[in-house]
Assembly symmetry: C2
């Protein structure tokens, strides 16, 4: 800035205009730690193959960057509908699935409405519920983080919206078709299922879209499809519901490059699927190796990450040692009350996992 | 879809859960007309120079697309702060400035709060005010679409937020520093100034950020900087205010490619600026030519578009003739009550403007 900070006016004057509910929220944040082995964001270790990147770059140079992307990305919606055996007008493409979570809350949640989520779960839900003015009702997961179906059903009876994340972040546990079926049959709640990790395990709820229009299923290109850097997610729902949620989604929300890249990823789904198999096998092997280390509890996971609890040393200690002595960055989730002494570790390359198991063994024993 | 439409459940069940205020809103939409001369979205006629596109494509192929973009795009924020002589922590980068309008409304507007805008103006404001549950108070612009400062000041006294668009879309008229200064000095309203077209004319309100923290200025790469296809906008505000608005902005909202492209555009601002000069001169020449056609009123514009009113034929007729007989697509804005018989025409290439003036003369006379 030209001029010093004393040239700024009183910030409190502007902040006073912010909704009290928003002021009370903690911002979503992530420590900017850097390491050679990056296992903190549940990214895929696989980039798009070089020849596909080159094809896409060539295609993109020939596009007109000064022109807005399509108002409705019809060809991408059609491909996605085809993938999930759903109708194209029931597909909404977003700038990451986060945008569609936000749009769903903005259209469904009025101030004071109760929104149920699992606990622990992805922390962004609580933030976006808060921005929408909703009342957050976390429902604790059971032993080994199983969904407590009875507790969810009871909570759903007074809820406007129930958010389920399956596999759940950061626990890796999944919920059943039966839970969603019961909620829509026995309550008036609207169900949002976040399936960001579904390719790695658990049943997709997409078939249940044929049972009830009180359901939105969210999917992403950021995890199994390996395109976190490009930001693309989508919602599947009844066409009359997507038409309403679309009102809170911004026009031209997905840029030209991302639309093109998502199309290429879908056209090469076989490559993507074989990678998922590889990650799932590696996850299960890694879980077995880690579980043999005394003092390390490995929770069962159907996602591309493992949640560990340390019984003899603190999670913060392990986190710091991994980062400083072994150049491995994992996610310290131990700040959440239920996650005392827990770390979340993304399944990376074979070499990443070997190094991480070895490092944890060294730190813990 | 596999299976026929009769396999869908009752949509009304899901739609009943949508907030009534959202159900009552019309979605933002745009007719998907296509023409060789595209003068309907106020895009720049200039793409990024080929060598810069090639540089960027090469850079991008070498990036890891499977990795999330930076949590905070520090180098882009620093460049933007430098451009506007503001502080980097007072810059918020978004997926187009629309995302930041939305985030500002979500953090400032509680249900029932009054939000003032000019009328006519960019239709997205009304939609996003509606989603946030605000009460929209349009303040009519004066003769030749001048901002009626007295009327705005009166309206601001009961408003939570005042949105000013300068130059205003679709009128091209600008507001003064004095109006913003008076609103922050004499009322409790928070002011959002959308400067999407500011490079083409009128004063930027950025210097007023040093007077009051009750001000957000929105800017975009989509117009003068010619990057509509990549979706990038930003907000400038007091750092304490941007910290609050950031809570409603999604993490990783701008993808890797867009961040890189925005950086390249800023590094080549001289090229961009010379193009602005060219468009401004062309706009003024085009206005002069069109004003000489009997039955065509050209409103004064400081943006990269002209608003015309037809006095002898209907705007719809002119719109259709331009599209069907001359392959020219302009924006029919005549649906808004104040804009009866008006069309908005983006300033394109010299050839576009010659063809458009000629076509309008043919249609009108």
């Amino acid at each position: 800035m030209n001029g010093d900070a004393s040239a700024l006016p009183d910030g409190a004057d502007g902040v006073r205009c912010i909704k009290p509910g928003v002021r009370a929220l903690d911002a979503y944040s992530l420590d900017p730690d850097v390491a050679s082995r990056k296992l903190d964001q549940n990214e895929s270790p696989f980039d798009l193959p070089d020849h596909l990147k080159a094809d896409l770059a060539a295609q993109f140079v020939s596009e007109a960057w000064n022109r807005y992307p399509a108002f409705v990305p019809r060809s991408l919606s059609a491909r996605l509908a085809d993938r999930h055996r759903w109708t194209p007008d029931g597909v909404l493409v977003g700038n990451g699935s986060n945008e569609l979570i936000q749009a769903a809350f903005q259209t469904l949640v009025s101030p004071g409405d109760i929104v149920v989520t699992p606990s622990p779960t992805f922390s962004l839900y609580a933030l976006l519920i808060g921005v929408a003015g909703g009342r957050h009702r976390p429902v604790p997961l059971e032993r080994e983080w199983k969904y407590d179906e009875g507790a969810f059903l009871v909570a759903a009876k007074t809820a406007k919206v129930v958010v389920l994340c399956s596999p759940n972040n950061p626990t890796g546990s999944v919920c059943s078709h039966r839970l969603v079926e019961q909620i829509v049959a026995e309550t008036d709640a609207f169900v949002i299922v976040d399936e960001a990790y579904q390719e790695f395990g658990g049943a997709s709820m997409v078939p249940l879209l044929r049972l009830s229009s009180r359901l939105i299923v969210l999917r992403t290109f950021s995890k199994a499809l390996g395109l976190a850097g490009l930001r693309c997610g989508y919602a599947l729902a009844h066409p009359e519901v997507t038409a309403e949620v679309a009102k809170a989604k911004l026009p031209y929300n997905v840029n030209r490059f991302t639309l093109a890249a998502a199309g290429i990823a879908l056209a090469n789904l076989a490559t993507m699927t074989s990678r998922v198999t590889e990650i799932v096998e590696r996850r299960d092997r890694t879980a077995t190796v880690l579980a043999e280390i005394p003092g390390v509890h490995v929770f069962p996971s159907q996602a591309n990450f493992l949640l560990l609890r340390f019984e003899t040393v603190s999670a913060q200690h392990v986190f710091q040692r991994l980062l400083q002595d072994f150049d491995i960055l994992v996610r310290d989730v131990s700040g959440a009350p239920e996650l005392t002494n827990c770390l979340r570790i993304t399944i990376g390359t074979e070499d990443d996992m070997r190094a991480t198991c070895q490092a944890i063994r060294t730190v813990v024993t």
